[in-house]
């Protein structure tokens, strides 16, 4: 047995040294390689999970902000529309007012002008009547060749006549 082992190169001290060697190597590798690497892997896994969570959260926030933005925009648009409508209405109203005021003013001016003209016509007519009456009397005097005795009577008479004339002439 010992002969065979010797020929195979197996010897107690070498075997023992290899066992010890392996155990030491295992302890060292565990200390220097496995633990640091496994810890690192674990840490990285945690970090990735964390950052995934962060990403989800921030994307949620972004969606929220987007919704908020759309809401504000919508509101602003509605307000703008309202303001525009309001201002259009106001403008319309003011224009209406201005127009109606202008209308009234124009009417007033026209009325006054008419009244003035009428008054003037009245005056002129009265003047004209007077003159016509005077003329008529004068003409009649001259025609008759004499002066009428009762001048006041005459005048009244003519006036009456003229009034009659103008009344039917109108």
């Amino acid at each position: 047995m010992g002969e065979v082992l010797g020929q195979l190169g197996i010897s107690g001290p070498l075997l023992l040294s290899q066992i010890v060697n392996f155990v030491i190597l295992m302890v060292l590798l565990r200390l220097f390689l496995y633990q640091p690497v496994l810890n690192m892997l674990e840490k990285r896994k945690e970090r990735i999970a964390q950052s995934l969570k962060d990403v989800e959260r921030s994307s949620n926030a972004a969606a929220e902000a987007e919704k908020e933005r759309a809401k504000i925009l919508e509101e602003a648009r509605r307000e703008a529309t309202e303001v525009r409508a309001q201002s259009a209405r106001d403008a319309e109203r003011i224009a209406q007012e201005i127009r109606s005021r202008a209308d009234t003013e124009a009417t007033d001016i026209r009325m006054k002008a008419q009244a003035d003209a009428e008054a003037q016509v009245q005056t002129v007519m009265a003047e004209a009547k007077k003159q016509v009456a005077d003329l008529a009397i004068t003409a009649t005097e001259q025609l008759l060749g004499r002066e009428l005795q009762n001048r006041d009577e005459q005048e009244r008479f003519v006036n009456e006549y003229l009034a009659l004339q103008s009344g039917s002439g109108k």
Binding site: G6, Q7, L8, G9, I10, S11, P13, L14, L15, S17, Q18, I19, N21, F22, V23, I24, L25, M26, L28, L29, R30, F32, L33, Y34, P36, V37, L38, M40, L41, K43, R44, R47
Partner: protein, 322 residues
């Protein structure tokens, strides 16, 4: 036929193929020229002591084991130095990948015990794969020392007889030409640790001892029921007793199979490569190198996987199956 002719004319006419053809021919002719100058392959079943008058325990395999240890520890320290929180890069990235892949594998095989088995399984894998590949480095097993004739009778190694004659042939080309007169013995400086039975037996013993340890720690005294089962009555009792003996034998058989599987594969691979290189110095060993790279990985992986499987089966009680 015309196809064959076309193939050969193409070999000559196509400039790239011509160069390759020429290179192959030169290498083959070189192999033939070198043939008489070569010593026959050095084959020794046992690791040999390096120093002629030094201690017998200081073998080339032990030296290589220490170098493998240093390589692994330096690698571990470099990895630890380049570990960083952010995006992994360089060596740390590779080691993280390897460790994570094997850890995941272990979790699949061993489940919740993966963390417990991890250091030993991982160390087996790293140590065995680096040991296996160390034998494939040119110079390992071929660079060495010639020992004088007086050591020859020591009988520490099983040197094939032609070795002595071959050493004579190389006399003119050896630095130790003066010693060649009296049958000098060639001792390689380095030898793959996996090609030394001490190493493989050490690994096998550690593995099987740990199997027993894990079994006892998981099942307590019930673990021994596997080997010494006197629970049955009559005929069944006898059966259980025999089965227990078989179990006991199988535990020892596992040690031997572990040790010789690794040793046999790696040692045979080295002999194969040496013989191929001896027959045709160039080109012929190339495919076998590829094969040995594959074998080196597979053996490391198989050793680790078997160890883990034995660990996990030891932790499951026999009663659980029924």
């Amino acid at each position: 036929m015309t196809k064959l002719v076309g193939f050969f004319t193409n070999l000559v006419q196509n400039p790239r193929r011509r160069n390759i053809t020429l290179g192959v021919i030169v290498l083959l002719v070189g192999s033939i020229i070198l043939k008489p100058l070569m010593s026959s392959p050095h084959v020794s079943l046992a690791a040999e002591p390096l120093l002629e008058h030094g201690p017998a325990w200081f073998t080339n395999a032990l030296l290589t084991t220490l170098i493998v240890d240093i390589i692994l520890i330096v690698l571990a320290l470099m990895t630890r130095a380049s570990l960083k929180e952010g995006v992994p890069s360089g060596l740390a990235n590779v080691m993280e990948m390897v460790i994570e892949a094997l850890y995941t594998l272990l979790e699949n095989v061993a489940g919740k015990n993966a963390k417990r088995f991890f250091p030993i399984a991982m160390t087996i894998f790293f140590f065995v794969i680096v040991s296996n590949y160390s034998g494939l480095i040119p110079g390992v097993g071929s660079i060495g020392i010639y020992h004088g004739a007086e050591k020859e009778e020591g009988g520490h190694s099983l040197v094939i007889e032609e070795k002595v004659a071959a050493a004579d042939e190389t006399a003119a080309f050896s630095l130790f030409a003066a010693e060649e007169e009296g049958h000098a013995k060639f001792v390689p400086l380095l030898r793959a640790p996996s090609a030394d039975l001490n190493v493989t037996f050490a690994l096998a013993l550690i593995t099987m001892i740990m199997v027993q340890y894990y079994g006892i720690s998981a099942l307590g005294g019930k673990y021994f029921k596997k080997f010494f089962n006197f629970g049955g009555k009559g005929f069944m009792g006898a059966i259980f007793g025999v089965v227990g003996i078989l179990e006991l034998i199988s535990e020892i058989a596992k040690i031997i199979s572990f040790a010789f599987r690794l040793f046999g594969n790696i040692f045979a691979g080295e002999v194969l490569l040496a013989v191929m290189a001896f027959l045709v110095a160039f080109l012929l060993p190339m495919p076998f190198y590829g094969l040995e790279l594959f074998v080196g990985f597979i053996q490391a992986f198989v050793f680790m996987m078997l160890a883990v499987v034995f660990f996990s089966t030891a932790m499951v009680g026999h009663d659980d199956h029924h």
